[in-house]
């Protein structure tokens, strides 16, 4: 097979997902040798404006500049792979979407009420262009990423996780932190693939892989956490860290707003 031409790009994010690829130290050189790398700004000064078989894109669309770049990338690649939560759903920076206006954010952080960056409300790539594959996580998992890549090199599309973190939590025989320690674990509504890292450390899942789309029962999760004594505002903040742009979680914000008749951030 001819070596696929690839590019690795980043929009607005922390660089952690590209870094996870570089963290595949044991196989990195082997892995890269399967590809003809045309653009990888983080590690290479070599650049060629050719068509691409695969573009890996990290980061959210948070500025008009990001959007321009994304559209250029989409136009030149056959397969677009969104890597990481930012690229899938806007990431952590989308946490206050729909709650705090961009200008308000400008004011709070930079002290000016003017959008000098051309900022857009952070969203994932699929809000704007067709995405062929999404590899979730904040950051992505090395193992899953490698397996997705080998599957693609093999000519297939990888199988994707469609079940919650709880499944892996039990496959690893971890005691449930929600039941045992009353911690606000989001595992039941979050996509598996991390091997239940957080419960494995005795910590609650904070949802870094995003919800199971069109499936997560966020309303039931809310009820469970309320019954554990957490207040609504905290639960919403927690769910919004990584999931603010998802319908299921937006709904929760709505339910709570209606219930309490207030919203701190309005």
């Amino acid at each position: 097979m001819e070596r696929p031409k690839i590019g690795v790009f980043s929009l607005t994010g922390c660089g952690g997902d590209q870094l996870m690829i570089l963290n595949l130290e044991d196989v990195l050189l082997d892995l890269l040798s399967y590809f003809d790398i045309k653009d990888f700004q983080e590690i290479s000064s070599f650049k060629e404006d050719s068509d691409l078989d695969i573009a890996f894109v990290e980061g959210s669309v948070s500025t008009k500049q990001d959007l321009r770049k994304l559209k250029e990338i989409r136009a030149r690649c056959k397969m677009l792979i969104a890597i990481g939560n930012c690229a899938i759903s806007g990431g952590i920076q989308a946490m206050k979407n729909g709650q705090m206006e961009i200008l308000e954010r400008m004011k709070r952080v930079y002290g000016i009420e003017e959008d000098i960056y051309g900022v857009l409300e952070p969203k994932g790539l699929s809000a704007y262009v067709k995405v062929d594959l999404e590899i979730p996580g904040c950051p992505i998992e090395k193992e899953e990423t490698l397996r997705a890549i080998t599957s693609i090199l093999h000519g297939d599309m990888p199988d994707q996780f469609d079940y919650p973190v709880c499944v892996e939590c039990k496959l690893k025989e971890y005691p449930c932190v929600l039941i045992e320690k009353n911690l606000p674990c989001l595992g039941p509504i979050i996509v598996a693939g991390c091997g239940a890292r957080c419960p494995g450390l005795g910590l609650p899942c904070i949802g870094c892989r995003g919800p199971i789309k069109e499936e997560a029962n966020a309303a039931a999760e809310l009820e469970v956490l309320l019954s554990k004594g957490y207040d609504e505002e905290h639960i919403v903040n927690l769910m919004r860290i990584f999931c603010a742009n998802f319908g299921e979680i937006k709904k929760i914000t709505e339910i709570i707003r209606r219930r309490s008749g207030k919203g701190r951030q309005e």
Partner: protein, 429 residues
């Protein structure tokens, strides 16, 4: 009238994040030097407003993928100070281990994979690996050793979650620590190799100029955690007064707000740390520091690369030392009671690229009222521009391509982490 000459690096490569450099020359005079950032802002300080303290580190560590543990620790320390939580000895050792591991990972990535190709004449490490496979493999193993610390102590390579307010959720066990220790023993040679490489790389002099240096005072031993800032001017401040040091001010040659100290740009990072705190080094790193004293001058910021390489040697030895100290007393699970207070706390650590401050104010329920983060790259930016200006001036008669190469090399030497420069106010023109 003189013709205007424009030198532009559209996108700086082999750095974390997106930036570009633009120099405008009129005749023999440099009219403008700009390092523009076109990283989208993420407004972290606004994100945590109203958020309860216990998930603040989870949010804030995501400012940066490379120095994630630094952000994590700065954030945790700020909160602990606000709530008067005193970490245990074991926690301090584990944190020390964690941040040293992070420095190894970050420096190894920067030196071998991003900076070295410049010196050996390759566009990237992939091509460099074809010529020097053994060296690149060794470098990757060094980087992996650093990541192993992340993995075991914080839970994963990037955005680990195990380090939290008050300590660690799951304390690593003996077996795991011995695994790190072994990896460190095996990395010693590669660490020294880095020093050799950068000593041999020579000392380009095109940025020579006075630099003000700034670093945290690590206490007795060389390290990355501290509560006071020491400055090459002889000044000394508690971190709570960081605003005096990082004054974000407009300067005449730039339309951005840049960090200056008493009106002058300053430098943070490995070189500053070594020159200010080098006396506190021990072991091989101390020897190497002495040997290379002449090369390591505060007048040449490119020496930051060499300084980083010596730091790797230090970190590798220190990780072993920390592990031995931890194992000698045995590891125990610790539970810390946290009681939120309506207070302010400032936490600082030396991230791989320099001093990092997190500053939070809480209400009585422990919700963030106000937050501020100052990253090292943001602090360095004024100094980078100063260096770019000086270098351009010296090379003004050289062709554009040559100037570009040098400018990019200078930027890279600072190992800038643009995505975490959340505070940089720069408009892409």
């Amino acid at each position: 009238m003189n013709r205007e000459r424009r030198i532009e690096i559209a996108e700086i490569t082999r750095v974390e994040g997106h930036g570009r450099v633009e120099v405008i020359i009129e005749g023999n005079r440099i009219r403008d030097v700009k390092m523009a950032i076109f990283e989208g802002p993420r407004f972290f300080e606004a994100l945590v407003e109203g958020v309860r303290y216990d998930i603040v580190p989870d949010i804030m560590r995501r400012i940066c993928g490379i120095c994630t543990a630094s952000h994590s620790l700065a954030s945790i320390r700020a909160i602990e100070k606000a709530f008067n939580i005193i970490p245990t000895k074991q926690t301090e050792l584990l944190r020390d281990l964690l941040i040293h591991g992070e420095v190894i990972e970050s420096h190894a990535l920067h030196l071998f994979m991003l900076a070295l190709p410049d010196y050996l004449g390759f566009p990237d490490v992939i091509r460099m690996a074809r010529k020097h496979p053994e060296m690149v493999k060794a470098a990757l193993m060094l980087k992996k050793a650093g990541n192993l610390v992340h993995n075991i102590v914080s839970g994963r390579e990037v955005h680990g979650m195990n380090d939290m307010i008050g300590g660690f959720s799951k304390v690593p066990n003996e077996e795991e620590l011995l695994k790190i220790r072994k990896a460190m023993e095996e990395s010693k040679r590669t660490a020294q190799l880095a020093v050799d490489l950068f000593v041999r790389a020579g000392t380009p002099k095109f940025v020579e100029s006075e630099n003000i240096l700034m670093a945290l005072d690590p206490g007795e031993k060389f390290g990355y955690i501290g509560d006071y800032v020491t400055i090459s001017t002889g000044d000394y401040y508690p971190v709570e007064e960081y605003e005096k040091l990082t004054n974000e001010k407009s300067v005449d040659y730039s339309h951005a707000r840049l960090s200056t100290y008493r009106g002058s740009p300053f430098m943070v990072g490995a070189l500053s740390r070594l020159l200010l705190n080098g006396k506190k080094l021990s072991g091989t790193a101390r020897e190497l520091f002495k040997e290379q004293k002449d090369l390591l001058t505060h007048r040449n910021s490119l020496m930051n690369n060499l300084a980083q390489s010596i730091e790797i040697v230090h970190c590798v030895e220190r990780c072993i030392e920390d592990i031995d100290a931890l194992l000698s007393t045995g590891l125990v699970d610790e539970v810390v009671e946290i009681e939120p207070r309506a207070r302010r706390g400032v936490g600082a650590v030396e991230a791989p690229r320099g001093v990092l401050y997190h500053d939070y104010t809480f209400d009585e329920d422990g919700r963030v009222v106000k937050a501020n983060v100052i990253t090292p790259t943001a602090q360095n930016m004024a100094n980078i521009e100063k260096d770019l200006r000086i270098a351009t001036q010296r090379l003004i008669n050289q062709p554009d391509e040559k100037i570009k190469r040098v400018l990019e090399q200078i930027v890279r030497a600072y190992d800038p982490c643009i995505s975490c420069s959340v505070h940089l106010m720069r408009i892409k023109s």
